[in-house]
């Protein structure tokens, strides 16, 4: 029941009994001639596709030196876009941490008709092309809204779009952990006198925190860099509804590559920090066993 399109990054759910599962041997071989050639080809392609272009971004951002980089980012309009992006992403992340946990909880612990369907619905925002996600939201909350609410060019609109595209992250990271949770532990807490709420707060929630954190950081990274779903919704008004990714596009269209690169580098840093954070979290979880 956890078919998921969300990449299972972050802490691996601890499986099974404390005795641990038997893992097959995983020895690594030294490179042979043919595998060496394979590695070479793969590295060349990876460099051409990913590493060189990303280096070009950093190069362009650094071209004007630290001063130019700093000036671009602190330019009032750019800074407003960056601040809006971070604030909206944080709000959405916070909302997801709570709501995502609740959704995961209901999907795992409750039993009711239609639950399977809801479980599939969770994946839809991730499976949909981002531009389609934006369009879908506009069909209900756009200019021709059947409920008379138009979110185009509002911060609420940005919040809603980000909420939509980041829906699966926390749910899908928390769900497997919740499934694997040992029922014995909850029974132990109950027989020691803990109420259901206390058991949740002191026993279950702490076990979920790494998963919530992992899902949240994935969601945050996604929200920071979101583009497609915002193109139609955010009106791109400077100081009001302009977000970082759209600012990059605007810089590019205005033939300001260095400005675009400066904002892009900032987004790259966030991406890298997220990966590092996830790595740290998963190591911590692995240590706890």
């Amino acid at each position: 029941m956890t078919d998921t399109l969300v990449p299972p990054a972050g802490p691996a759910p601890s499986r099974g009994r404390p005795s641990g599962r038997v893992k097959a041997s995983s020895g690594r071989f030294p490179l042979t001639a043919s595998s060496g050639i394979g590695l070479g080809v793969a590295l060349v392609w990876f460099s051409v596709l990913v590493l060189i272009p990303l280096a070009a971004v950093i190069g362009a951002a650094a071209a004007g030196g630290w001063g130019a980089f700093w000036d671009t980012l602190t330019d009032a309009q750019t800074f407003a876009a960056l601040r809006l992006t971070v604030v909206e992403a944080l709000l959405v992340t916070l909302a997801n941490a709570v709501i995502g946990t609740i959704v995961a909880w209901v999907l795992v612990r409750d039993q009711f008709f239609g639950k399977r369907l809801l479980d599939v619905v969770i994946d839809i925002p991730f499976a949909l092309p981002t531009i389609v996600a934006g369009l879908i939201l506009l069909s209900l909350w756009g200019p021709d809204s059947p409920v008379g609410v138009n979110i185009v060019n509002t911060r609420q609109g940005i919040f809603l779009a980000l909420l939509f595209v980041t829906l699966p992250f926390v749910v899908r990271t928390v769900q497997p952990v919740l499934i694997e949770l040992d029922a014995d532990v909850e029974e132990a807490a109950a027989s020691l006198g803990a109420s259901r709420f206390t058991t949740f707060r002191r026993i279950i929630l702490p076990s979920l925190v790494p998963a919530i954190a992992a899902g949240s950081s994935l969601g945050f990274a996604r929200a920071i860099s979101e583009f497609g779903s915002l193109v139609l919704i955010s009106g791109n008004t400077p100081y009001e509804t302009e977000v970082a990714s759209l600012k990059i596009l605007k810089f590019l269209e205005g033939d300001n590559q260095d400005g675009a690169a400066a904002v892009a580098v900032l987004l790259l840093i966030v991406a890298v920090l997220t990966i590092v954070a996830l790595d740290v979290i998963s190591r911590r979880v692995a240590r706890r066993g």
């Binding site: 040992d182 029974e187 206390t198």
Partner: protein
Amino acid sequence: MSIEVRGVNKSYGDFVALQDINVSLPTGQLTALLGPSGGGKSTLLRIIAGLESADGGSVEIEGTDATRLPPQKRNVGFVFQHYAVFKHMTVAKNVAFGLEIRKRPKAEIKAKVAELLELVHLSQFAHRLPSQLSGGQRQRLALARALAVEPSVLLLDEPFGALDAKVRKELRDWLRRLHDEVHVTTVFVTHDQEEALEVADEIVVINEGRIEQIGTPDQLYDEPANDFVMGFLGEVTQLGGVRLRPHDIDLSTTPGAPHALAGVIVRALRVGFEVRFTVEVEGQTDPALVVLSRTHARALDLDVGAKVWLRPTTGATSVPVIGAGLGVATA
């Protein structure tokens, strides 16, 4: 009586887990619920703890009717086979949990935790996480956690089942000594007859949802109520018309003893200090199993192919064979 179970029934769909269970356990006693897996013994323990509710019947703990009480209100300590420690809490925090729930003063909690960690020999690990403990240590931690709230009864569900043989034996002896020290009414579930015989004051044999027999280890071993209890408590073999224990067979290399049955040794196996002979007995389809001490076997100079005469030793525990087909229980 500390625990009084009356007329308890429990089914899961079509499967009857427990059927009209009546048992009373006196205060301070160490009782084993013994039986094969899936026989209902764990279900009974969990019903006593309130982790499962019976379909019918009642459970009384220390004189109060607990049938409808949730587990939180029963004041029982429960120890799980797989420890069920709180992984994110230190050893000391684990033990303190029940006391914190009860809102005891901080100083009292601290003292009590220290006392219990002392009791289970984990004092030096107080600030470690459970993942840094061995299986045996985790189970001692689970025990300390359960005892911290001073439960009226302590319930252990296959407490040593997940541990390896050596640790299991150590912990078993240790549980017996601990019980002699703290004297809390204790019930533990096991499928290991040796464990039950060694540790318990009284054993309740449960099979297929029913109680087969209740008695002291000696009673059960010497006067099994039926074929099942006899078979479950130790190795059983067949000789003539009776079932009896392999070490209760007298083996001689000469005929002459009254009622002795003749046979031929077809297999001899040395296991540690004993020798196990498989003997084809005349007029019997299944071979008999005879266990002799190694010295005894050597004195008789026995080997495969030797002709021997078998008869039950005097005073041997035996039950008549009911029909055929009941296989010989092997250890």
